[in-house]
Structures are given as C-alpha cells and as structure tokens.
C-alpha cells in the first residue's frame, strides 16, 4: 500500500536521493577510517577508492530507479482503470433499467446509422469499377423552354461529338435493349447494352478474360458478345472454356469473346451482356430521335464546364447543317456516377440525415438519464471528493462507464448494421443502383466506432463534466448539495429537452409535408380508366417475322385476344401512360412557324386501333384509328386536348390540320383525325402537354405493350391470354404480366417509400421527445416536492398545481417548437426537392405539427403533474 501511495519523485529529486545515499556510504567509510587514526583527507580518498566508480554506479542506480518509477506509474493508472471498470460494471448491473435502455438505444442507433452509411458511401463516394471514374460523363439533352432534361441524344449528334470533340479523350454511345436468352431449354429476358468502340474505350475497362470487340465485329450485326462475371458463374458454371462458347440471343448463337471483370456495372446492375455497336435502320438515325446514351471520358485538363460549352457548340453547328428537327436544346454533361445513382441519391441522403437526427435525440435522452443518475450518486461522489479523489478521477469514473456502454453498443451496432443495410437494399422500390458496390467493410466499422465515440461524448462525458462543475461538490451537506447541484442539472436537462423537441419538430414537419405531397400525387387523375386493365409487353424478333409481316401480325392481334373469355377489349401501344419511356421530337405545324425550341417537344407513340376505347381515354373530336389507317397515304395522327387547344383554339378546329413530330423536313405531313383527353404519360406527377398518337402501320415497331380490359380480375385472365399469344407464335418474347394498377403503384413506390420512412421516423422522434419531456417533468416534480407541498398547504388547488407543472413543460416545448420551425424554414430549399405541389411553408402542415406536438406535450406532462397535485402536503413537509 505504501508503495502505491508513494509519490514518484521527479528526475532531479531522484538524482539527489541517489546522491544522498551514496554519499552517506562514503561518509560512513570515511568516519570509520578516521576513527582508526587516518587523516581526514587520506580517509576520504581511501573511502572513495574503496567505493568504486562513483559516476558509473550512480548512473546505473538512476536508470534502475527511473524504470521503476515508470513501471509504478503505469501500474497505478492501470489499477485505477481496472477499479473503475469493476465499479462501473457493478453499477450498470444494478441499474439494469438504464443499462438496457442505453444499450438498446446505442445498438439500434449505431446499427442504423452505420448501415445507412454503408449505402451512402457505396452510392456516392466509393469509386466506380472504371479506372479514374471521376472523368467519366454522360451527355444528354434538355429543353430550356419546357424545363425537361435528361433525354438521350440522337445518333447523328453522337457521331458528331465523337468526331469533333477535343475535350473528350474518348466517347461513344450505348443502346440499351432487352434480349431473349435461351439456355437449357428455358428462355428469359436479359438486359443488354450495345456499345460503340468509342464507348468501350471511354470506360477503359478490359475484360477479365478474352477481349473487346474488334473492327470486324463492329459491323453492327451484333455478332459477338461479352458476358458479365455473374453470368459466367451462374449460367455457364464458371467453365474454363467459356471463350469457345456462345450465347443464344433471340434465336441466334452469338460467340462469346470475353468475360467482364467481377463488379463491372454498366449502366446498371441488371445488365449482363454487352454487344458491339448495332446498326439501326435509317429512320432511327435522324436528329429528332433521342435514342442513345452517350458516355465519354473527359480530358484531365478540361473542366466539365468547358466540355459542356464545347459540346453545346458542336450541337448548334449540327443544327445549322440540318435545321428543324431538334432545335433549341441544351446539352447537359453530368458525371457518370451522378447519372447512374439518380434520384436514389437524394432519398438515401435524406434517410441518413433522419436517422442521424433520431440518434441525436436518443443520445439527448440518455444524457438526461445520465444526469439524473449522477444526481442520485451525488453523495457517493461527494465522499470520493472529500477523500481527495480529485475531480478528474470522478470524470474518469463516469467516462469509463460511458465507454463500456459505448463499446458494447458499438459491437452490437456493428452486428446490426448488415441487417439494416440488407433491409434498405431490399426495401428500396425499384432497387437501388450499384448494389454490388454496397458492402460492410473497414470504413463502415470505423464509422460505427466514431458514432459510438460521439454518442459516448454526448451522453457520458458531457454530463460528467457538468456534474463536477456544479459547485460545492465537496460539501457533504446533502440538502445544500441537492439544492444547488439540482438546479444546475435541471437547467441542463431542460436545455436537452428543448433540443430534442426542436429536432423532433424538424422531422415531424418534414414528414407532414412529404406525406401531404404523396397524398396530392395519388389524388391526381390519370386521364384514363385504370381499373381491370391487364398489361403485358411482347416482342417479335427480326428473324421470326419479316418486317412486312409485323404490321399484319399486330393488326390481327386484338381480334385473337378479344376471343379469350373474360376479355372485353384489347389493344396496344409501344409505350404506356404513367410508366413513361416515351419518345419525344420537335413539333412542326403546317402553315405555322415558331422559333425552334420555344415549344416543349411532343411525345409520340404508335397505337393499335381501339386503343383509346380500351384505355378509357375520352375521344373529344374526330375518330379513333381503324382499318383505313394501314400505313398508306393519307398519313394520320391523333393529338391530345391541350395540344389542340394551344395551337388551334378548340378541339374540333384541329381536325384536318397537318403536323409533323420528330422527323426531318422531307417526311410527309400527318393529318389530324382525332383529339383525345390529356393523359399523365410520364408519371402521375405531370400531365403530358403535347401528346401525339400514330397508327402502328405508319411506324411499325416490334415491341409493343398490350393493354387488355377484362371483365373481372385481370390476373385471373392472364394465363388464358398467355396461352392465346403462345398459340400465335411460340417464339414471341413475353414480358411480365401485370395490371395497370400495379404499374401505377410501382411508379409512385419511391415516393411512398421515403414518405413512409420519414413519417415513421417523425413519429419515433416525437415519441422520444415525449419521453424526454416526461422524464424531465417527472424529475422536476420530485425535486420540488417541498415547494409544491407548501403551495398546496397555502391553498393552491390541485388543478392549479397541475396547470403550473404542465405550463412549465409547455414552455419548454414551445421554445423547442420555435427553434425547430426556424431550422425548417432555413432548410426550406432542401425540403422543396421532395415536395409536390405543397410549399415548404404550407400552413396546414405547420398546423398539424403544432397540434401533434401540443398533444404529446400535454400527455407527457400530465402524469407527473397529476402526481404532483395528488401528493399529500403534510407528508412531504414532514420529510
């Protein structure tokens, strides 16, 4: 014991001590010699000689003592920490309530934030599987006038850019297509991408096995294929002779020339096959047809803005040489990552932010609980202080407890993180992009540890520091101690509650706004009858049916389908409403001229006869397509109401007028024979302002989306429909059968997902804040027992006391509300991105939030208030 309490001497002290000791020895020897009659000087000389090498011995002793002191220091520190850990564990086990709450909170909070972080990191920060991916860009077009953006570009423009651009090191385009692949007797639809040589070069990726397409294979016939690593493993069993094999694509056996590396994604995780450039027929090769995706690699010394300006110039030069069909657009250069990640970026970031906020509230609650615990240990801490433990040893004790909780919570959270990650990936509607990049690795674990540390700091160390700062900690007068320290603690806890309420208000407000937006989206009329509509995509391969026969095939199709029992009517279009994917082109009207680009491009699609009747789209003037419209002169078109009104005044006036959509000037005019109601073609969120419909024979297309109105449940009719189609052609590619209702639900699924989650988080935040209010009020009531007892004895009514307590909690909530509203208004612009037709300052949403907050504050404060009012003043005063 003496050893432990002995203070270790400083360096100078140590040397002096050793010197004293050694000198004392020499003195004794000297004395002895002198007693024997030797002269003092002689005695001293002899004594020193007998001693030995004084310097070396002193140095050795010094080293030994220095090492000893160091060892003692370390052991001392280690011992006190071990003591703290033992003591802390005992306390944590005793207060199992607090421990459980703290562990659960930490585990859930850290797990959720770490899981979301892994997703955020993978989508936004982890380098893509291309060399130097920050220079990869996607080039698209947008229309300034209509505000639409993100279109693909046309093939002529793509070729022009490849040839003329100096800012691009390499570039090319991609056509996405779905192909039917047969293996082992089974056929399935597979996503593929046909890339030009320039596109492969821009991506800069070499196959893991084999090679990229060479010049002979780039002939446009699709005579070679690269497969994904996953495809190689799954479908071909990772066979070593893969390069001698073929893939059965659309009834042709295409030789495999290479296997892409594992983890290679372009443009999405679903793409499994890559082909060389395909040659499309000439109708696709004009400037009005925005059909390809351009990808390029920017030169290192060229900035994105410079590249954008250069490409804009190239585009405008192209317009000069071929005016009319694609004017007034703006070239958009976007980093490839941003384009690949798309909207999910914002949703994931928002979720991450929300979870972070909830974690903050939870830590604030824990901090409040910890302050309460410190209060109940004030006697113990005061005794410690009186025994000379020092303020820092108390901080150390409390910090060690918090660290133990933090460590346990971190480990549990790290185990939970993969679960959270999987949940998000599975639950995100339509699937998250780049899923192969999402994984738990060292970075995520480091993040979990950092979060745990932050939480420990917030709820462990800060209250500890606060506890020792409160005055008169050393005073053992329990009553005085409680009064003064209690006031400080209550103030801190009240500040915590205000903070929690503010954060909860921000979440609640956001949740309400987003929920109202979602409700608005759902309330929009689609423009057609969405009930009992079966939807199915079909496609006829080129080698199954020659071009001339395709038209007849589709003309006959409705008749065959309507023969199926349960089918009321059947038709088809190449793109359907709500699900989007429409083609767009510039609109020209005979005998009119307007400045290019001032109008939004009109959408166009091909439909079979009776399309509008089947869909339930009202016919406002003229007629539907029928047998007359067989692809010969006069060419016809049907337009929508808004287009008619805008250019011709009223629907009937449009009949007989002639227009052109998305074709070069030498193409024939189309005569308007009908006007139909507006439809939400892209999504529920916007009406298509300029929609045109052409009969299928005029622009034949091999892939069509069938729409079948059924008597009863569409799904019940599906098998019969499939059989009827198979009877017509065994090798038709059939897509997934679905209903229009289902497709619409899918189209709003992302918005529904974020809305549901945000509302759930808001509810959780409000609950936690309510718990915080309850805790603080309850504690405050306990502390003020005497004062309230006196009030009661002096004649205050029970309802008066209740009102007093509730009122004080209401003040706290009110301050938090104001701060929360302030923050929400400050981040208004960020919120607006998620909203639809609801302003960020929507009064109804504010009103709802305030009411809900008032209700929970009332509820949370009511129980303690009632307890306060009920307590017997005599009993309290007697204490």
């Amino acid at each position: 014991m003496k050893r432990l309490l002995r203070l270790s001497l400083g360096v100078a002290d140590r040397r002096r001590d050793i010197e004293r000791e050694l000198r004392a020895h020499i003195e004794q020897r000297t004395d002895e010699l002198m007693a024997g009659g030797v002269s003092p000087a002689e005695a001293r000389r002899e004594a020193e000689a007998a001693f030995g090498d004084y310097g070396a011995i002193a140095e050795t002793c010094n080293t030994i003592r220095r090492d000893r002191d160091r060892e003692r220091r370390w052991r001392g520190a280690w011992d006190s920490i071990r003591q703290d850990v033992r003591h802390g564990l005992r306390l944590l086990v005793r207060n199992s309530g607090f421990t459980t709450v703290a562990l659960l909170t930490l585990a859930l909070g850290i797990g959720a934030t770490a899981g979301l972080f892994s997703v955020v990191y993978a989508l936004l920060l982890r380098p893509l599987p291309f060399p130097d991916d920050s220079r990869l860009v996607r080039v698209g077009e947008g229309n300034l006038a209509s505000g639409e953006s993100g279109f693909g570009i046309s093939i002529p423009l793509a070729e022009q850019i490849t040839a003329e651009s100096r800012g691009l090191e390499a570039g090319g385009y991609r056509i996405g297509l779905a192909v039917q692949v047969r293996s082992g007797g089974e056929a399935r639809e597979v996503q593929a991408a046909a890339l030009t040589a320039g596109a492969y070069k821009a991506l800069g990726v070499s196959p893991q096995l084999g090679r990229l397409p060479d010049a002979t294979e780039n002939d446009g016939q699709g005579s070679a294929v690269l497969i994904s690593h996953g495809y190689w493993q799954r479908e071909l069993g990772g066979a070593a002779d893969v390069l001698r094999g073929t893939v059965q694509i659309n009834t042709r056996a295409v030789p495999i020339i290479g296997v892409m590396p594992a983890g290679f994604i372009f443009p999405s995780v679903e793409t499994e096959l890559w082909l060389p450039a395909l040659r499309l027929d000439d109708r696709m090769r004009n400037r009005g047809v925005h059909i390809v995706e351009f990808v390029g690699r920017r030169r290192p010394d060229v900035s994105q803005a410079e590249l954008q300006a250069e490409l804009q110039r190239i585009y405008e030069n192209g317009q000069l040489s071929e005016p009319g069909s694609d004017a007034g657009h703006r070239i958009e250069v976007v980093p490839l990552r941003r384009w690949m990640v798309g909207d999910s970026r914002v949703a994931v970031l928002m979720l991450f932010g929300a979870v972070g906020l909830i974690m903050l509230i939870a830590c604030a609650n824990l901090a409040g609980l910890q302050l309460a615990r410190v209060a109940s240990r004030s006697r113990e801490l005061a005794v410690r202080a009186a025994l000379g433990a020092g303020r820092w040893s108390i901080v150390r004790q409390l910090t060690v407890e918090a660290l133990m909780l933090g460590l346990a919570g971190c480990v549990m959270g790290a185990l939970l993180a993969p679960v959270v990650q999987t949940l998000i990936v599975r639950a995100y509607p339509g699937g998250l992009p780049l899923t192969t990049q999402i994984r738990i690795d060292a970075r995520v674990l480091l993040f979990a540890a950092a979060t745990a540390l932050l939480a420990v700091l917030l709820f462990g160390v800060l209250p500890a520091l606060h506890a020792i700062r409160s005055r008169r900690l050393a005073s053992l007068q329990a009553g005085m101690l409680r009064a003064t320290a209690g006031v400080d603690r209550q103030r801190a806890r009240r500040a915590l509650v205000v903070f929690e309420v503010a954060v909860a208000v921000v979440l609640a407000l956001s949740g309400t706004l987003v929920a109202r937006s979602f409700a608005r989206v759902l309330s929009k009329p689609a423009g057609f009858d969405t009930d009992r509509l079966l939807v199915l995509s079909i496609s006829i391969a080129r080698d199954r049916l020659a071009d001339e026969r395709v038209v007849q095939f589709y003309q006959d199709l409705p008749r065959h389908l309507e023969a199926v029992p349960g089918v009321i009517s059947a038709s088809a279009a190449n793109t359907l409403p709500i699900t989007g994917g429409d083609s767009h082109g510039s609109l020209s009207i005979e005998k009119r001229s307007f400045s290019p680009g001032s109008e939004p491009p009109a959408s166009y699609r091909r439909v079979l006869p009776n399309y509008f009747r089947t869909m339930g789209i009202p016919l406002l003037a003229g007629r539907e397509f029928d047998a007359r419209d067989a692809g010969r002169e006069p060419f016809v078109v049907i337009i929508n109401e808004t287009l008619a009104r805008q250019h011709f005044g009223q629907a009937s006036a449009a009949l007989g007028q002639r227009i052109k959509v998305g074709v070069p000037d030498n193409e024939p005019w189309l005569t308007i024979v009908g006007v139909v109601g507006d439809v939400r073609n892209e999504s529920l969120e916007a009406m298509d302002p300029q929609a045109t419909y052409e009969p299928h024979p005029q622009r034949p297309w091999r892939s069509m989306q069938l729409v079948i109105r059924t008597q009863g449940d569409p799904v019940a009719t599906a098998p019969a429909v499939r059989r009827a189609l198979r009877a017509l052609d065994q090798f038709m590619t059939l897509g997934e059968v679905s209903t229009m209702r289902h497709r619409i639900a899918d189209s709003v699924a992302p918005r529904r997902f974020t809305t549901q989650l945000l509302v759930a988080f808001a509810a959780l935040a409000l609950l936690l804040a309510a718990l915080g209010i309850y805790g603080v009020t309850s504690y405050g009531v306990n502390e003020r027992r005497r004062e309230l007892g006196i009030r009661s004895a002096l004649g205050a009514s029970t309802s008066g006391i209740r009102a007093l307590i509730i009122g004080q909690s209401a003040v706290l909530a009110g301050i938090g509300l104001l701060i929360g509203i302030g923050v929400a208004l400050a981040v208004q612009q960020f919120l607006e991105r998620f909203l639809f037709e609801v302003p960020a300052t929507d009064p109804l949403s504010f009103g709802i939030t305030v009411s809900v907050l008032a209700a929970i504050t009332l509820l949370a404060a009511y129980l303690p208030a009632r307890r306060a009012a009920r307590s017997d003043p005599a009993a309290v005063l007697r204490e």
């Binding site: 020895h25 007998a50 000893r68």
Partner: protein, 110 residues
C-alpha cells in the same frame, strides 16, 4: 563490475540474508557480508547499491530514510514478505546446487 553472473545472484542472496535480522543501511549490509564471509569475498563497496535498487524494484525490499548509530542519515532497507519468500527459495536452491557440485567434485578416480 567484477565477477560472473553467479556472483551477482550470490550478492542478492547475501543481501536478503543480511536483512533477516532487521532493517539495515547499505554500509552495514556491506560490513555484514565482509564479516560473515570471513573477509573471503572482497567486493567493491559501490556494487551493493545497484543490487539493492534492483531488489527494491522487484519488490523484495522496501526502502526508507533513517538515522544510523552514528547519527548520520542513511537509507535503510527492509525485507518484504515477497523478499522473505524469495530468500527461502534461493537459499534452498543454492544449497542443492552446492551439494550437487560437491558430490561431483568429491568423486575420486577409482
């Protein structure tokens, strides 16, 4: 420092033994060793001190400043419980060692 490793270990053993009669300061320990080995072991007096400090670091002795018979201040060393234990162990080890070597040496050529 003169002597072999065996010698250093021997010194520690002697110091511990010296202290069994009570606390002593460094000079007295040296004197005891000289007297009890009948002046056979001649060691430089300073050599004691690193040995003493090493024993203190190992926790086998405690140190404390005090006053000698001649009214001089000196550092006294005292055996600890651990030191006593160590002394017993080393002593029996030494005796076994001596007996073994002695037995070997006392063999005569037959």
């Amino acid at each position: 420092m003169a002597g072999s490793d065996l010698f250093v270990g021997t010194l520690d053993l002697l110091i511990l033994k010296a202290l069994t009669w009570g606390p002593l300061h460094g000079y007295a320990i040296g004197r005891w060793i000289r007297q009890s080995t009948h002046d056979e072991l001649k060691i430089q007096e300073g050599v004691l001190y690193p040995a003493l400090h090493r024993l203190e670091r190992r926790g086998l002795v405690d140190e404390e400043w005090g006053v000698t018979e001649t009214n001089r201040e000196a550092k006294f060393y005292r055996l600890t419980t651990a030191g006593r234990r160590e002394l017993r162990q080393q002593q029996s080890h030494w005796q076994r060692h001596v007996a073994a070597v002695g037995a070997a040496l006392s063999l005569t050529r037959a």
